[in-house]
Symmetry: C2
Subunit: 107 residues, 2 copies
C-alpha cells in the first residue's frame, strides 16, 4: 500500500490525474502564474519571486516539466521555461466537458 493503483485505470484517466496532480501544489500554481506574466522566464526570477529555496523551486519545475505542463529550453547559463498550452488544453477540455453536462448536478 501507499502506492496509487494506476494499473487498474485507463491511460486517459491516469494522464488527466497526473496533470492535475502536477498542478496540485501552491508553489507550482505560483510558478505557472508567474510564467503567464513573463515574456521569458528564468529560474532566478522565480528564486527571487517565491519564498522557497532554490533546490525546492528546481524540484517543482522538474515536476511540472515531467508532467509536460512546462517546457524549458537552455539559453546560455539560464533556462527559459514556458507553459505548454497543449497540456493545459487537455485539462481545460476535461473540465469543460463536465460543465456542459447538466445531468451532472442532481443535489
Amino acid at each position: 500500500m501507499g502506492t496509487t493503483k494506476s494499473e487498474v485505470f485507463s491511460e486517459e484517466i491516469n494522464e488527466l490525474a497526473s496533470l492535475f496532480k502536477a498542478m496540485g501544489h501552491p508553489a507550482r500554481i505560483a510558478i505557472i502564474q508567474f510564467l503567464r506574466t513573463q515574456e521569458k522566464c528564468i529560474c532566478t526570477d522565480l528564486v527571487n519571486e517565491l519564498p522557497l529555496a532554490q533546490p525546492t523551486i528546481s524540484q517543482h519545475l522538474k515536476e511540472l516539466k515531467n508532467a509536460g505542463i512546462i517546457q524549458g529550453s537552455v539559453s546560455g547559463t539560464s533556462i527559459c521555461y514556458c507553459l505548454n498550452l497543449e497540456k493545459i488544453s487537455v485539462l481545460d477540455s476535461f473540465l469543460a466537458s463536465l460543465k456542459y453536462d447538466q445531468s451532472a448536478t442532481c443535489c
Copy 2:
C-alpha cells in the same frame, strides 16, 4: 519538512492548488467521470464500478467533498453525490486565463 508551506502563498493560490490536488488521483478522476454520466450516484455503484475496496472509495469521496468538488446529500440508506460545478468553474477559469495569454508561450 514534508509539509507544504502554504502560509507563504496567497489564499487564491492555495485554493486553486487544493482543488487541483483533489483531482490529482486516477480514482478521483474516475469518480468524477462516473458522476458525469449518472443521473444520481450512490456509493455502491462506485464500489461496483471501480476496482477499489469500499473504504478506499469512501476516502476518495471524502477528499473530493472536502475540496468542495462534489456534494453529497443523504437519501435513505444511500447517499447521492454530485458534482459542484462552481468549483469546476474556478479551475476552468484559471486554465482558460492561461490559454488566452499568448505571451505565455516563448519556447
